[in-house]
Symmetry: C2
Subunit: 147 residues, 2 copies
């Protein structure tokens, strides 16, 4: 049983998930495998696109956020997965070498009516480059309660 | 300039993106790298979780959907990326060996007011195992117009 349970994730809780630098090779390998659009693979094609330069698949940014969330919170928690989310935005493209600060904020929490011992936590996740958001998303996390 | 442009993605358009089988090794490598929660890595831990068995990170399912979307549509299109989405759900866990049918439906389309030559397309993407949805999401795709 993990240390961080439903009861620890009350509305208003903010957690700094740390920083991660976008590794060019890892980004390109991800883009190639899952999102091989020209502006995610080719510098010249990317410069001609509205994105302005070779950039990360938005899903890669999400995955980097997820990695820091698991390392910082979920690895030592009662997490039981997620049924989904309701907002996801990529306000700006992410480039190799970018230093991203990952954060989360708990927006809401309630006990499940259908599953005793389980709580649903509304979480806003974000990634910032300096003061600019490059990722914002809201999703529901399921966590076992302590009781 | 790709063949599939904004004008081809009118509301009501449905596209079968084909089938993909969940490869256990690729799934585990993804889970390990981006979402190393116990129920995504360890068979016994997964059986004790509400998920019921070793299963894919929801982001892996999203990435498999994205791969089929790029291969079937975006690779030969005027795609200019995506600013985000508004709904994302994983109605059921995905297991190794599952055969997933990927689909998309165009929900809406409008020309950008701020960027002439660009159109915004509302797309519902889904993955089904048999008759059951395992992924549903709605997002906006940006496509250049032909004009």
């Amino acid at each position: 049983m993990g240390t961080i349970a439903f009861e620890d994730l009350s509305p208003g809780t903010m957690i700094d998930l740390g920083e991660i630098q976008v590794d060019r090779e890892e980004m390109l390998a991800f883009n190639q495998r899952f999102d091989p659009q020209p502006f995610h693979l080719d510098e010249d094609a990317a410069k001609r696109s509205v994105l302005g330069g070779l950039c990360a698949s938005g899903w890669f940014t999400v995955c980097l956020w997820m990695r820091t969330y698991v390392e910082t919170v979920l690895a030592d928690s009662t997490s039981q997965g997620s049924p989904g989310g309701r907002d996801l935005s990529w306000p700006a493209p992410v480039f190799p070498g970018d230093l991203l600060r990952m954060r989360l904020e708990v927006l809401g929490a309630r006990r499940s009516r259908s599953r005793p011992g389980l709580g649903l936590v509304e979480i806003a996740g974000s990634a910032l480059r300096g003061d600019d958001y490059v990722l914002r998303m809201t999703f529901t996390g399921m966590f076992s309660t302590r009781g």
